[in-house]
């Protein structure tokens, strides 16, 4: 099948890629670029495990045609860490036990990053709303919300969080 060249800036690296008209952005990210952090869960836009940032906004990569992303900037979970140093948000997920099977985690992290980029100190309702398009079948969400809340306000401690081993002042 014929391919068309598109330009994508993925995690700050600009690339030109030949794609087929029926390739999704998720397929390009995972299969062409080998960035396998973003997951395909439902494949129909419900679960959120394929969430990436497209020009700064969280979207479903499984429902995005690669051709529609031509010229856009894409951030995947691989773009959050600085080399081998995890971002504070990622570290907070680990510290708060917010990862169990891990399948939803890349999408959760991307949705959380989008929120914190726009609103560095969201209240818990805003936070839950921002994560409402990401389904987790393991954690019951409480630890994920704790992790993002802590990443948003590490200096103030997090009275609601249930772990004692992260950098904050836990009660």
């Amino acid at each position: 099948m014929q391919t068309i060249d598109i330009t994508l800036t993925v995690n700050d690296q600009q690339q030109t890629l030949p794609v087929k008209s029926n390739d999704t952005l998720l397929e390009v990210i995972r299969d062409y670029l080998d960035l396998t952090g973003s997951k395909e869960g439902c494949g129909e836009g419900v679960c959120g495990s394929c969430t990436v940032l497209l020009d700064g906004h969280p979207v479903r990569a499984c429902l995005t045609l690669a051709l529609e992303a031509d010229g856009c900037a894409v951030t995947t979970v691989e773009g959050l860490a600085d080399e081998d140093t995890l971002s504070p948000l990622q570290q907070s997920f680990i510290d708060h036990g917010a990862v169990q099977c891990g399948f939803c985690t890349p999408g959760m992290l991307i949705s959380a990053k989008a929120l914190l980029d726009e609103n560095p100190s969201p209240d818990r309702q805003k936070l839950r709303q921002a994560l409402s398009g990401n389904i987790c079948r393991c954690t019951g969400y409480a630890k994920i919300v704790d992790a993002v809340a802590h990443a948003a306000r590490p200096e103030s401690g997090c009275p609601d969080c249930h772990t004692k081993d992260s950098g904050g002042d836990h009660d």
Partner: protein, 324 residues
């Protein structure tokens, strides 16, 4: 893996319409419904015509008379967060905020939201139902707890999935449509087709036609609007029962009222019985009680969705109390 199709992204409306006239061509706006439909194999698409190079179709602007024109490609997030929409038409802002999830609101467009295909699980599944050219509505005798209680005529019992169409219809919005024969304007309230009118399509759009803009008339001085959506999951779901109100209220009396239901019928469903129960009256407890009973007056529920009767009564009661 998606089926194969060709892809074009024309930069004029004229070229867009020319491509759309071809057999099995489909419009791509936000893509969130289209890609799901292609994945589920519920329609044959040979060519995708992307609208995204049509810059005139993006954005929201105020008209000289104080109304708004919303480009069909404006995302649901933009509509939900736009300050003019919030000020003038809270019902539309609320409806937009209730659509799907944050990610889908960032991708999905207001034009696309109005043109969604049905969400019936038989339609989306491997069932050759009436809407796909078959001769059976599987939901009628099957699982239909989320299906219609109005307007189905026991033919096809889908509910229309849009959360923006009911407030737009209540607010008397009009759709600007371009097509092979030129352009035309259709009020949202006349845009949808009941199963008894047509089973092949849900709207009056003809092959080659595309919604370009949504026009909202200037809000009357005493206009109050709202949208309420009840769903099985708070985070992300389609409406079980929804209510869009656009009421003009003077000295506590409803002088004009338009009331639309979602999750109720194959189209956004105008509830004339509720309108009649409240127009010319003060929204006191007795009127609200009458309106709550009136909302299900013409209902024809199915064995598994009679619960929607109480749901609609409750929603009407709560929302009329909230808006008065």
């Amino acid at each position: 893996m998606l089926p194969q199709f060709s892809y074009v992204r024309p930069d004029t409306l004229q070229d867009t319409v020319r491509h759309l006239k071809e057999k099995n061509a489909a419009i791509h706006a936000g893509g969130t419904d289209l890609i799901g439909c292609l994945r589920d194999g519920i329609m044959q698409v040979d060519k995708i015509v992307s609208l995204n190079a049509l810059s005139d179709l993006h954005g929201i602007r105020e008209t000289a008379d104080g109304g708004l024109v919303i480009g069909a490609l404006t995302t649901i997030t933009e509509v939900a967060e736009n300050l003019l929409v919030k000020q003038k038409y809270p019902g539309l802002s609320q409806g937009s905020s209730e659509v799907a999830s944050p990610q889908l609101r960032n991708q999905g467009t207001i034009g696309g939201n109005l043109c969604q295909k049905p969400r019936c699980w038989y339609y989306r599944g491997e069932f050759h139902c009436l809407r796909k050219g078959g001769n059976t509505c599987y939901a009628l005798d099957g699982e239909h707890q989320f299906h219609a209680i109005f307007g189905h005529d026991l033919i096809c019992v889908i509910t229309h999935p849009s959360d923006t169409a009911p407030p737009l219809a209540a607010l008397s919005a009009q759709l600007k449509i371009s097509g092979p024969e030129g352009s035309r304007t259709v009020p949202v309230e006349n845009f949808y087709l009941l199963p008894v009118e047509d089973l092949e399509t849900e709207t009056v759009l003809k092959p080659g036609e595309v919604i370009t803009h949504i026009v909202l008339p200037a809000p009357a001085k005493n206009l109050r609007s709202s949208y309420r959506k009840v769903r099985a999951r708070r985070s992300w779901d389609f409406a079980l029962a929804g209510l869009a109100l656009a009421l003009e209220i003077e000295n506590d009396t409803v002088t004009r009222g338009r009331v639309y239901l979602s999750g109720a019928a194959p189209v956004p469903w105008r509830s004339r019985p509720v309108e009649e129960a409240i127009t010319g009256r003060k929204l006191d407890a007795a009127t609200i009680q009458k309106a709550a009973l009136a909302v299900v007056e013409d209902a024809n529920p199915l064995p598994e969705n009679t619960y929607k009767m109480d749901l609609f009564k409750g929603v009407v009661e709560e929302e009329l109390n909230a808006i008065r």
